[in-house]
């Protein structure tokens, strides 16, 4: 490698230009907008205006509660499921591997709008296939859209369906990069497969799992399309409203950019805080 400032920056220039205009400046700008009263033109500097309102806004706390609830339940369940998928897809005993891989990985290419529409139709009260199937095995119908608990469950089911395979792909690639001879040695020593998983696979995979967790946490923190389209703008009565939806409502329905920016920074702060705790916890154990 050579020291060539001019050449390097010529290659980097277009990328850095886009980065500066559409990321660096917005990160700063968004912070400044959160300290401005934006309901009247011209905007004016009013440090407590949005942040003060945020602290006393029940809609904000509702959105934080819903977002964290989804995060705490859905992310671990999904990562665990992705791990199960990855381990089983990696098994040498599996036949027709391609078919199983297709089944679990296919949702990765499905767009949010397309799958939200399908889930909405599948879970509808009277004509949804899910309730019909529940009925046919003697279980009562569930009103997925008018009660908060089933509506939240539906959001979590939808997100898990969409993203479990994505995480399984990453975990599977991680598993396949673990050298084979580690397992061969363990098998010769008559270590059971289950023990091999907990004492070899899991520890070696820790960085990959952390990567999946970080991506999932950031994704779920910004959850928008599913509560927007599946449960109809965060319904019933704000029961599935997330921070992403609150930001959309404040920023792009009420055009209150200042308040929406404060919500955005809260999301970032929560995501970074949770990520740091995550990294700290996984570092401790090593």
């Amino acid at each position: 490698m050579r020291n060539r400032n001019a050449t390097a920056y010529r290659f980097l220039a277009p990328y850095l230009l886009i980065f500066s205009v559409f990321w660096v400046w917005p990160i700063i700008s968004s912070f400044m907008i959160s300290f401005q009263a934006t309901r009247t033109v011209p905007w004016r500097f009013a440090p407590g205006f949005n942040w003060g309102r945020l602290i006393g806004d029940p809609a904000f706390f509702n959105a934080v509660k819903n977002t964290l609830l989804i995060l705490v339940i859905q992310v671990p369940v999904m990562i665990a499921l992705a791990m199960v998928m990855a381990v089983l897809l990696n098994s040498p005993l599996l036949k027709a591997r391609g078919l199983y891989r297709f089944a679990f990985f296919a949702p990765v290419v499905v767009g949010e709008v397309a799958y939200s529409a399908v889930f909405r139709l599948m879970f509808s009260l009277d004509f949804g296939i899910v309730n019909k199937l529940l009925n046919s095995i003697g279980l009562p119908k569930i009103d997925w859209f008018s009660n908060v608990t089933p509506a939240m469950a539906l959001i979590m089911i939808a997100v898990t369906w969409r993203w479990a395979g994505y995480n399984a792909i990453i975990l599977l690639a991680g598993m396949q990069s673990i050298p084979e001879d580690v397992y061969e040695a363990a098998t010769l020593d008559r270590v059971s497969k289950l023990k091999q998983f907990f004492h070899i696979t899991l520890p070696l995979l820790k960085p990959v799992i952390v990567f999946c967790l970080v991506l999932s946490i950031i994704g779920t923190m910004q959850l928008f399309t599913e509560p927007f389209l599946i449960t109809e703008r965060g319904g019933p009565g704000g029961g599935t409203e997330t921070l992403g939806l609150l930001l959309y409502r404040q920023g792009f329905r009420s055009l209150n950019f200042g308040y929406a920016s404060a919500v955005a920074y809260t999301m970032a702060a929560l995501a970074i805080a949770i990520t740091l705790v995550q990294l700290w916890l996984t570092r401790e154990k090593q």
Binding site: R4, Y15, V113, A114, G174, A264
Partner: protein
């Protein structure tokens, strides 16, 4: 030896007995998408259980085209995704090349910032991006608005940096001794060698653009400028709308991507797994 293989057989059966129902549950929404798209609306909203396709796809598609100009929206989505993919592959591989092959002032800072943005929610830049593009540049409802702001991506650059730094130095040094210019080395030596990685990157970027929803929803909200997912999204939740039509649209958005996925699975998986495995 025979007891060992019968234990293997039992394990294998248990594995398939567990995995098959899970796989069927996972395929079920996709299957139902296809089934719904072929059913008349009064069939979708009937009490019976229908699990097999009917023959109503064309009628449903016509209903969709009546509710929103879906063909036009698909045209916009395809053009935008193709342009975006080309530009983004070029931009990210140039940046990845610089980070992989040169030592330069400020390199650590650049790499650090790119890594940092992975953990930063997109929501933080969304509002200023919107204000800038819609108000300051007056570019709402244009292709530029759909293509340019999403061009920045961090995982792609890190992936290309990784790909280029694994190539042997001699390859490029030989060309340098001959006096070949750096940009020609990049274009005619490095890029052809990186073809599999470029394919993986291109597929992931194309898919991201094709499925992108929030940004196009905000910035291109006028009917004639909407992308296909946005146009389809406007129908969901309307009271008088053809659900068979919506499902036909969902199938048109999804099935081509599924075919690409099946054909190019290796590249797809490489692209997704690239972020984590170093």
């Amino acid at each position: 030896m025979s007891s060992l293989s019968s234990a293997r057989l039992r394990r294998s059966i248990a594995l398939h007995l567990f995995l098959t129902p899970l796989a069927l549950i996972w395929l079920f929404p996709l299957w139902m998408m296809v089934v719904f798209s072929t059913m008349p609306d009064n069939g979708i909203f009937s009490p019976g259980i229908e699990l097999l396709p009917h023959g109503n796809f064309v009628d449903n598609f016509n209903n969709l085209q009546r509710d929103t100009n879906f063909v036009g929206a698909i045209g916009i989505s395809v053009s935008v995704a193709v342009t975006y993919t080309f530009l983004s592959v070029l931009l990210t591989s140039m940046a990845g090349w610089a980070l992989a092959r040169y030592q330069f002032f400020g390199k650590g800072v650049v790499v650090g910032i790119i890594f940092g943005t992975i953990t930063l929610p997109y929501a933080v830049v969304l509002i200023p991006q919107f204000i800038m593009v819609a108000r300051d540049f007056q570019l709402a409802n244009t292709w530029v608005a759909l293509i340019v702001p999403p061009l920045f991506n961090s995982l792609g650059v890190l992936f290309m940096r990784q790909s280029f730094s694994m190539m042997p130095d001699d390859l490029f040094d030989a060309a340098r001794v001959e006096g070949v210019k750096e940009w020609r080395i990049f274009l005619f030596v490095a890029l052809p060698l990186a073809r599999p990685m470029l394919a993986a990157l291109a597929i992931i970027l194309f898919l991201a653009s094709w499925n992108n929803y929030l940004w196009p929803l905000l910035i291109n909200s006028q009917p004639g400028s909407m992308t296909a997912p946005v146009a389809l999204g406007t129908l969901i939740g309307l009271t008088k709308v053809s659900w068979g039509g919506i499902m036909a649209g969902a199938v048109m958005l999804t099935v081509p991507m599924l075919i690409v996925f099946v054909l190019l699975q290796r590249h797809f998986i490489a692209g997704i797994a690239a972020g984590a495995v170093k």
